[in-house]
Symmetry: C2
Subunit: 231 residues, 2 copies
Amino acid sequence: MTRRAVVLLSGGLDSATVLAIARQDGYECHTLSLDYGQRHRSELEAAAALSPLLGAASHSVVKLDLTLFGGSALTDAALAVPTDGAALDAGDTIPITYVPARNTIMLSLALARAETLNANDLFFGANAVDYSGYPDCRPEYVAAFEAMANLATRAAVEGARLTVHAPIIQLSKAQIIARGHALGVDYGRTVSCYQADAAGRACGLCDSCRLRRAGFEAAGLPDPTRYQPRA
Amino acid sequence: MTRRAVVLLSGGLDSATVLAIARQDGYECHTLSLDYGQRHRSELEAAAALSPLLGAASHSVVKLDLTLFGGSALTDAALAVPTDGAALDAGDTIPITYVPARNTIMLSLALARAETLNANDLFFGANAVDYSGYPDCRPEYVAAFEAMANLATRAAVEGARLTVHAPIIQLSKAQIIARGHALGVDYGRTVSCYQADAAGRACGLCDSCRLRRAGFEAAGLPDPTRYQPRA
């Protein structure tokens, strides 16, 4: 029997790798993107293109206006995206690019989608290494969400067991890239930049670009990222 | 110091009572409604009117198209709203009016709003008595969501303790009505009907109407609900 999974796909490097892993694990994958008013719109276009390329069975986009909540440089135009390497510091401060409750909201929507599809598996690209300051990227958070989800749904009441997979949570960026490379992920199609242009070209300066570039270097692989031309 | 709370307000009888309870408990209340494509739109208008009437400090509406997920008679126009009293049977079947993961999604949005407001309290109108078939209306579900939320947010990492209040979860409809009546809630302004008309008048036939009408009878209070004229 085909096992069905819902895979959160942002269009970035991490979630593309997670989709490739879920496919290799034999799941029929249904991808879900959240249009939460992010400033970097080309990420959503990348997700829509990557989904069939990586063998997903369907792709859905849920539109939700999180800008109402403000508070993050990724949604609030009044806050500058940091380019000083702040996200690279594995300290205990939470980066300004943190979106309030984002993973909880995204996993909740994935849970609704899973229930509609009779899927018992959710995959998402949380990473506790690069995003050490994000509370909702930690293994204990993922376990708590899974416990809650197993009390939340019709399927759970009827005896199904829902599993939340975070297969790259303990991997470094270089390890993620090596894994995806081995699975044939075309990282030139992914968009990680916090301020990519309309064509999906990366700024090369923001924290996300720095993490990504360093990852390719550490993995010893060529960086296929398309960068914006410099003046 | 003023304690701030986010209160999920649907416009129905239960959540209006919860708001009145939160106000009596001394919280500065910020109400949140979810526009999830529900067929009974007048419920949302009732929420916007009730929020200031019951003393809330702000009201927000988050628009989220759950119709994408289908599966419930409350969002899917292809499914009929049951009028045969199915929701009155306190059995172990889940009513067709169940919306996949709805409370999880609503609480997640409330969590995001709370984080933006520096609020440490969420209130919602889950009820385990009338909605015994809904998995996400049970006390163990509420506790699991609270545990997850306390691992999910910046505030939690920084030491705050988030509490999810479900003050009417163990009350009968009659007890809820008696409580709200004592607190001065004008139930004529609330809309519970699954198929209310544009003016907010109730059908009197759906399961929600039956539960509500029986509640006023059991409480020994006049039913102020505005009903649609019968042909």
